[in-house]
Symmetry: C2
């Protein structure tokens, strides 16, 4: 599949409606995943806080993981070494587990599997991975999915602004710096990884108000400021956070390219901003004559560290 | 107090031994803090996993916060708006709370206070903030504190290597990029904020293995690589992670300045690496003729967003 067609499939992916039953007696949730699958846990963590949710992206599991833990293993390929490893460790503690995967080893070893369609680059299967999770926890309604579908569809048909941003970054070979305001910390992180993996460009992501307490001094006085392209992903309805970004711009004398989320539900806003980033990174890859789907280097890495 | 004397006081700070009683019936912990006080939660999160620990660095508290939550509010000044705000919200849910502060509003409104000595820059009071927390949870022994004391003392007396690193960064006006391997994710983040706040230099921090899945492609193919100074904070005893960093270096053709933690306990290793970063950022400030203690810009920001 052409990479652009993969991007266009996101709107269909969020319609995917396989769900799993949430086991009873769950007092906490752990979501394991890394890379393109790792961002799923970060998104979920921002949307579901009824019980503590921890994300796992290394080879270690927290001591508190036990039979009251719902352990969700997310690996698009089903063969991510780290995720298989921590699932094995968690199973020994008697967790209740669910796997979200398109196949691989993870499908074979898991009792409860949400098997999602294969054939995508993992980072282009975000909709397939996040939809079953959010729908199982009843975090999104049919109307919210529909709202997101329409926004994504609009971006698929018109991403001229995203091309312009990519153009501005490419023309001066700038390093993208992406800030966000709540609840979009996972979204700015996704932008960063998309710049890395699609456009093969180094990028930095962080969020406010935290960054106002440390990046602030750097943004005002650091050298090399002209090498960066500063963006802020925002929620127009959050006036307190608008004030925060206004103050940072004024004090640091740095102008951000400020992008407001469209849509009314948090889910639609997140999906919209994620897709804006998909297109910016895709166009940047095109300008740089890089194949956005190529991640042979990560495949080599996995071989070398087996 | 001269900034260098503040740095030198870290070893004395970790001897601080006021503790609080851990309430019974605690099923989860939330630690609120931002900026120089915010890193305390990140460090604690890596060292204590017997119950789920969430960190809070915005104006929102998770739904699961209730009477079974131990809510730890960390603010050195005691006047951090965000921390006071979330503590207020948490109190309404009936949490059991502890404040770690040198005074301010937080001391006034809290029933349980660990009152630590005042007179420091918040980022130079890390020892005072972390010691009561780790000692209350019995996470560090007298021997481990002594080991850390000796390593910190050695760095206070000889930080020529740290000066050399700062020199290399300053000479070419480079942007520091700090990677770490587990359990040092909070340490690389602390390095970043120290570069920001002391040296007024933009910096990037991340950790392996996560970064091997996204930064990897960028490190190999991105433009502007020569503008960065790459470092990796490592644990010599962790051979799997050594292999990861070896593979990343080989595949990306980027050489990291690799720094091994000294010491045998995790606490001593963390304190040692944190202090190496203290000195690198301090020397970089000196080279750049910046006052490392000056954060007037953040004070202005707080005023503007009151």
């Amino acid at each position: 599949m052409k990479f652009e067609d993969e991007l266009k499939s996101l709107k269909e992916q969020i319609l995917y409606d396989k769900v799993f039953d949430i086991p009873e007696n769950i007092t906490n949730i752990a979501i394991a995943g890394i890379g393109g699958s790792g961002v799923i846990g970060k998104i979920f963590q921002e949307l579901y806080t009824k019980v503590p949710v921890v994300t796992i992206n290394s080879l270690y599991i927290p001591d508190h993981i036990n039979e009251n833990t719902l352990f969700i293993a997310v690996s698009y390929s089903g063969n991510t070494k780290e995720t298989l490893d921590v699932l094995g460790k968690a199973e020994k503690r008697g967790v209740q587990s669910i796997a979200i995967t398109s196949g691989g080893e993870l499908e074979k070893i898991s009792r409860n599997v949400i098997k999602i369609p294969s054939g995508h680059n993992p980072r282009c299967a975000l909709g397939y991975m996040i939809a079953p999770l959010l729908k199982s926890f009843k975090l999104i309604s049919k109307e919210e999915v529909e709202e997101a579908y329409n926004l994504l569809n609009r971006l698929d048909n018109d991403n001229a602004r995203e091309k312009e941003i990519a153009d501005a970054i490419a023309a001066k070979k700038l390093i993208p710096v992406i800030y966000s305001t709540p609840p979009f910390a996972s979204v700015s992180y996704r932008w960063k990884t998309q710049f890395n993996e699609n456009a093969k460009v180094f990028a930095y992501a962080s969020f406010f108000p935290e960054s106002a307490h440390n990046d602030m001094a750097a943004l005002r006085y650091t050298y090399k400021k002209k090498n960066f392209y500063f963006m802020a992903l925002e929620d127009a309805t959050n006036r307190d956070m608008k004030k925060v970004v206004d103050a940072v711009e004024k004090l640091t004398k740095v102008s951000f390219h400020r992008i407001d989320a469209e849509g009314s539900s948090t889910f639609a806003k997140m999906m919209y901003l994620i897709h804006v980033g998909d297109y910016v990174s895709y166009h940047l890859a095109t300008y740089r004559k890089k194949d956005p789907s190529d991640l042979k280097i990560v495949a080599k890495f996995k071989k070398m560290t087996e």
